[in-house]
Amino acid sequence: MKNIRLFFLFIPLTCITHLKCERDDICIESVIESPDLILLFLDTKDVSVRKSPLNFSIRAIGNDVPVLRRGSNDSLLLPLKIQEKNVQFEFIINKGSEEENIDTIQINYQRFDTFINAACGFRSNFILENEPAIILNPGDNWINGFKILKDTISNEETAHLGILH
């Protein structure tokens, strides 16, 4: 009997140590993360035609890390700030030549977060404002305007914003 009683005192210890060692949830790679904004360069004369800018370069304001260019020359993925409702970039055309032209663009949006699962947590989604983008340095701009292609940014499957030039 004594032994049984002693044994009973050890069971809780075993249980507690066991509970502390429960496995972690792992967020698998195939789960879609917070999306970037997909920009498309379009021809001002015919907005259904894609038009790549010549010798194009982009710089994020407030971050010296170069913006990675993925995909073709007529499109661009822009990372949005989750802590703020706008983000600024310098769009540079004809870089290095005498006709170099820098337009500073601000993109305006709202954010909403959706739950994925316990392992992955939340994903950010964005909605472009009615005025999705503004040029911060008016005069002598190479960009003529903007066109919302899809105002809700919840995946990276289609383009969201068109830049007319």
Binding site: D24, N63, I82, F115, C120, S124
Partner: protein, 244 residues
């Protein structure tokens, strides 16, 4: 409140019919036996020591669980657990506080053959359980594998998806293995291990019942959970039936 009343109704049905069935069983055995058979119809009440201890030592947990069972046959018990708790959890990128009450009701069957004078139990049992609970989402960090902006890994502490998720519930059953040892006259310590299976739960909006009071952690890939308690109980022998 309505749910509580329903449970009270169930319990009173169980308790109300118990003395009858207990008596019949004893009589039928006694008929063809000259031995003196003593089957105490007893009521055992107690508390879970693990949750009380955890409330003392942990800042992230406060709660209790009361346990009770009534012997309705030689080896058969009606058993229940009632608990209330509030706990703060950090699950991966999400920090939330769950609070609520739960009630578990069912049967235990003793499979342990006691020697003369001993009164220990190894029981196998089943419970039906339900919880009423709520979550408060304190903060979370957004999933972004390719972080470009330096502050994008800061947790979101207010607004957006944070805040309260009220009026949630869950319903599940448990398979219980329990060991009870009499350490003093009418005083028992016990350990129970539980395998839980979720039957249904009311999901919070834009969140999940990652933790359910009484059920514990709900995992993504299956509906099973686990739990245990470590109890100290006192036995009140309120009816002793002797048959000659």
């Amino acid at each position: 409140m309505k749910k509580l009343h329903i449970w009270v109704f169930y319990i009173s049905i169980f308790f109300g019919t118990m003395p009858l069935s207990g008596q019949n069983e004893v009589n039928s055995v006694a008929k063809d036996s000259l031995e003196i058979i003593k089957t105490p119809l007893s009521f055992r009440l107690g508390i879970d020591l693990y949750r009380i201890t955890l409330s003392q030592i942990s800042d992230d947990f406060s709660g209790y669980e009361a346990v009770g069972d009534v012997r309705i046959g030689k080896d058969l018990f009606v058993a229940m657990e009632i608990g209330s708790l509030e706990t703060k959890k950090q699950v991966e990128q999400v920090n939330f506080t769950s609070s609520g009450n739960y009630l578990k009701l069912g049967f235990d069957y003793n499979m342990f053959e006691n020697m003369e004078g001993m009164n220990n139990h190894i029981t196998l049992g089943l419970r039906l359980a339900s919880s009423k609970h709520k979550h408060y989402l304190n903060s979370y960090t957004i999933l972004d594998r390719t972080r470009f902006w330096p502050s994008s890994d800061l947790p979101i502490n207010n607004g957006y998806a944070t805040g309260e998720r009220l009026n949630l519930s869950a319903f599940w059953f448990e398979v219980v293995v329990s060991f009870k040892v009499q350490i003093l006259k009418n005083v028992y310590t016990g350990v129970s291990l539980r395998l839980n299976r979720l039957l249904n739960d009311k999901l919070p909006e834009n969140f999940d019942n990652i933790y359910i009071p009484g059920f514990n952690k709900k995992t993504e890939d299956n509906v099973f959970g686990g739990g245990f308690n470590y109890t100290l109980t006192y036995n009140i022998p309120f009816l002793t039936k002797k048959n000659n």
